[in-house]
Symmetry: C2
Subunit: 253 residues, 2 copies
Amino acid sequence: MRVFSDEPLSQALPRARLTEFRSPSPAELAILASLAGPVQSVARHRTIRREGDRPQSVYMLVEGWVLSSITLADGSRQILKVHLPGDILGAPSIALDRAAETLTALTPTRLRTIGLSALGGLFTRAPHLAALLFLSAQQERVILMDRLCSIGRTSAECRLAAFLVHLHDRLKLITPDVGARFDHPLTQEQIGDIIGLTAVHVNRVFRALEDRKLILREGHGIELLDMAALRKLSGVPARTLAQDLSWLPKPLD
Amino acid sequence: MRVFSDEPLSQALPRARLTEFRSPSPAELAILASLAGPVQSVARHRTIRREGDRPQSVYMLVEGWVLSSITLADGSRQILKVHLPGDILGAPSIALDRAAETLTALTPTRLRTIGLSALGGLFTRAPHLAALLFLSAQQERVILMDRLCSIGRTSAECRLAAFLVHLHDRLKLITPDVGARFDHPLTQEQIGDIIGLTAVHVNRVFRALEDRKLILREGHGIELLDMAALRKLSGVPARTLAQDLSWLPKPLD
DNA sequence: CGCAACGTTGAACGACTTCAAAGTGAGTGG
DNA sequence: CCACTCACTTTGAAGTCGTTCAACGTTGCG
């Protein structure tokens, strides 16, 4: 589920995009805008919600990067998702009594809160929008499934390649004119927590990919020198979203 | 999303359970029953749907075990989910142009097909049911997230313990009187494909758990001798489903 | 009964981790 | 402006966990 907007949704309806599947109708966007709370700012490294908290809302990320993570019994951490602007945060935990995931602002961040009752109201007031949300949840399942394959069955090089390609693809959705080079705020330790490696080994694998002329690093910028090779190395097939959505309920006018 | 029934749903409404969250109303069950096709039988080891196929429906598993898997470029396989009776199969792929997952009957299986247009109709005709489906998808995300932690950050013993405990918990939902001992149709190679290990190592870890008196094996039966220790070993916290669902739309009468 | 799939075990290997230490760079206070 | 600090990166060396390869045992099904 992606809801992109530079400004509070109520002020920037034309640019808002609800999902990667299909743009919601203006009437639906108006509903969505009325559901979400005001834009709030969160400072870098601040926790938006901690695992174990009672999940009382989801969040719409307006700007910034947010990490969703779980800390295990032994203290190690798995980062579940790197959230980018337009993402809905915290949705998995609404199925639970206690939130599974901790949400942490990686950069200065702006977001809007959507209460559960507002979300629930969507299912009666805007069935088409609800169906898009449902589809988006299924898409997130596919993303997790692909990561499970990557972490469970491929080498460190493949995993890093898969992560970089996936991240680049998602950045391109937000900024279509992004080239092969992009900046990110992640440390190598965080990248390790994403793809299930130690920071030390992430560093070695970065070097290996650089030596193979597949990528180029400078500070927190990365250039993907050979997208085709990286994508092939990643091992996971590229996914194309469903085109035929004629089975969805009719959008509101 | 779980829809348990021994018989075609239309014949066994009282026992049907739509989700783990809340039972759908009779009117909703009638709608669901009217959407799904007739019960079909699938022989052991038959493919229900192959990755790459166009996703045109989801399936409701009435009886039997089904594996959902992805085969990687190098030929290795990751099993994404072991489906049990009551599960909805194939839902993630409805977000895609081409199915991500292959569905294979592990045992003789009975299932019902639900076409996409039927599924879409649910969002207007039964918003409460649609919301339950949405919640169920979020729950599946949490399950995948927990597995990502398990595979990404824990040892082979922890992974196997986590898998056994999770499987036992799910069997208990279907057969509440199941004890510490249960049967399963999985080979060690398949278990390896679930938790990201080789068959050889799965064998060794089984032996290790047995030596530690945590489990006991006889053929395809497993007894969990010390649930508390296994759960602790698994590293992943037990999840409690949301209790307060007052924010959902009102059920149909 | 015979075959094929599955399970078990040993030994060698390799990928990744762990531990340790030094290098780099951005931010802060004197 | 410089020195200091802290977080992050980089590199080496040793160790461990899981894989790979190979062989043999076991089971169940046609």
